[in-house]
Symmetry: C3
């Protein structure tokens, strides 16, 4: 490593050249490395050293990119597609997808199985079988997403075309990734589904847990700040705006705080044809919003609402101060 | 395709090697591909097969990156710029920009014109003319953005220098992309402007529709969750904080719900020198916030406010529980 | 440049070929370039022409990527790590990190020192020394981040494993970047710390100023829209949910509006073991939230709260309209 350290002077900064990594500095860098190595043997730190290879975030993002092209053919690829060449194109992409999925599912499973040998035939075979099962759901996913696209067009007066929605609507992207991740979540594949939805969260500001259940024709407008928790249940034709939280009630502190809630229904149920406007918050596993309800912006609910109800915040009391106004 | 499928075993997972894609699995993958091809002939699905080549998201992002360097010279490039070499650098970048813009504008137009032949001289020529018209606006855009940078410095006590703002402020990035996209929107270029602003939305959490009208010296602080709708009209020297929505009132359901609102003024008007603090919501096409108003955080407005007015939420009623407190 | 402009026809658009950049168009592009060059000599515009080379955003993001691998070994790299090869891997990465940090710190400092000659030995040497000082903090950062990971697991019932948190939780990513940037901020390195935290802001929607002071075992759930201002002071074991603002009171307008606040304590103090639920807003440099307080969702505070207090919004008054409901 000594050889690696010596010629470190960053030439790109300026023309000034001198071997400035003097022995005392070199010694300090070595000490850092040794402390870091040592800390990987401490129980209190977090690392993945000596464990099986884990899923690759980059490869999982690549899977999502191929899926976007497979599920919306002709929008995101580099070449013009026509019906005569479509089979070759889709065939090629589906095979590549299968290969990538097999590898990442195997890694996800192996990481959990944590066998000491790096060879685990069962994990590889299970990965391939699960990848096939997922691929067989592609045609159904395609139809579900087409319905989501149309729900976006119907719901947003600013939408100029279906193409604009496929190309640029963050709500559609988040729903696409959720629908893919949810299928893997249902098959109990660890790690991958959440890595997928957190990638969508990063790009869109929309945080949908892969465990949530969401019906057809789902529409999310703008979307930044939307949170949909793990055990949320959403019906068909629901519309949601930016900043809406479908969340859990408080998490108690203490050593068992989070653990005793793990696995329970903690998030609300939203029935068919409900609209929830911006920044509304609906909390709790017992909370049911009945069919066709309209929940106004900024509303805060921790109890159920019967079907066909409109809930608005009472005209908020504001204080007006100014030359032209005594009080609003 | 059979040859493509056979050697699929992911070597990278482990040393275990066997030709495990047994015929029944191969058959299942083939069925998936055929169903996907078939679904592209269904009217109910969404694809762009057999249509003209559409704009490329990657190329449009490349256009934004070059524009950032052209409009803020010396900040984002790889080399040191000095006044003697500046002309070569800017000349090179503007020519590249013109070329990329011509191609993407042509594609955007052709996609809408949807002629069956792939050769459409008018679209190509119109793309070049529009690209030129856009380039001629660069000097004015540069001055407008310099004013926005200064508005950020004056508005944020945490700002240490103008450079820090150009480099790292998400509000400035969102405004830069909006000002570019708005010029294309005014020329009625389809798809591209929205792809641009949704890219900025993804990076910043700030969702400005390219159709909005925004005056000089605009300042957005923090910005996550800001929504500025298509028909919003914003004056000069306006300041906006995170989570502010300038939005539309509710969108009625039904087949014509979204359509009957398309094109109408649905979003508010904000006059000169207004400040709108975090999480405030202002809705409706008839709502006018008069000059020099201050709108407090969390305020919710669906009606106009005269000039020089301060609007605050009434001291919110809180419930305090605890050892040291009976009630707040 | 004339030669560069002529063959511009975008071949990729279609087969149609003609030299369509007629002289009048070429002239118009030339005029644009000259105006842009001219504008770089105007005092009113913003550029970095003729100044020292400034930090590179791309290189700073590369530094963060290496740091993520060094601080969480075995999660983000391409190869399986075991204890026997760990030293080589960490040694290699720490040396690369040192080199990159030296260069970017030198650039940040030089930009501020603004000497006219491009050679400034002091800046280079200072960059190397500061890079070493930073590297020596890596073992302590590793322990601090391990505690943050565990705080996330204890706080979120949806978390399935520590690995899931390291891989995909945006709150952990934002805290990792904050802890790194804060060390550089404490050493008064300009520009870099803010470029780092704004990169995390872009990926996570969580905006933590590098100047904030944050204790151990910090947990941010979901995170989109969180804002933590420059002079915020946060104790140990604090939990924060999406949309929480720890901000400043209003910034007065006028030429000295922002300037007179620069450097003062403008943001709140949050003591140990406080929980702050979604969308709560706490403002002002004098505001102190006492130890073990629970601040409910949507609460809006501009005054201090004693220890062990729970603050909730009063059951909000809603208007219920519907077939099954007279009034809620």
């Amino acid at each position: 490593m000594s050889d690696g350290i010596k010629p470190l002077l960053a030439d790109s900064i300026c023309e000034y050249k001198e071997d400035v990594l003097i022995p005392v500095q070199e010694e300090r860098l070595r000490t850092v490395v040794q402390e870091m190595v040592h800390s990987c043997r401490e129980a209190s730190t977090v690392d993945n050293v000596g464990a099986a290879l884990i899923p690759s975030k980059d490869e999982i993002i690549r899977i999502l990119n191929i899926l976007q092209d497979v599920l919306f053919p002709g929008y995101f690829g580099r070449q013009e597609l026509n019906h005569s060449t479509l089979e070759y194109h889709l065939g090629h992409e589906v095979v590549e997808l299968f290969e990538l999925l097999s590898a990442q599912i195997s890694r996800s499973i192996r990481h959990e199985c944590r066998r000491t040998d790096s060879l685990c035939v069962q994990c590889v075979n299970k990965g391939r079988e699960e990848a096939l099962i997922f691929c067989e759901k592609l045609p159904a996913l395609r139809r579900a997403l087409a319905n989501d696209v149309r729900a976006h067009y119907d719901g947003d007066p600013a939408a100029k075309s279906l193409d604009e929605i496929v190309f640029s609507y963050p709500g559609l992207y988040a729903i696409f990734v959720y629908r893919v991740a949810h299928e893997l979540f249902l098959r109990k594949i660890p790690l991958m589904p959440r890595i997928m939805t957190e990638h969508a969260h990063s790009l869109t500001g929309i945080d949908i847990h892969p465990g949530a259940t969401i019906g057809t024709d789902f529409f999310i407008d703008h979307g930044t700040g939307v949170v949909i928790g793990e055990t949320t249940d959403i019906g068909d034709r629901v519309r949601i705006y930016q900043g809406v939280t479908l969340g859990a009630l408080s998490v108690p502190r203490g050593s068992e705080g989070g653990n005793e809630l793990r696995g329970r229904k903690r998030h609300p149920t939203i029935q068919d044809d409900v609209t929830i406007y911006a920044q509304a918050t609906i909390l709790g596993g017992q909370t049911v919003i009945g069919a066709r309800c309209i929940i106004g912006g900024n509303v805060w609910l921790t109890a159920s609402v019967p079907p066909d109800t409109t809930v608005l915040i009472e005209a908020p009391r504001h204080v007006f101060k100014g030359e032209n106004h005594e009080r609003g």
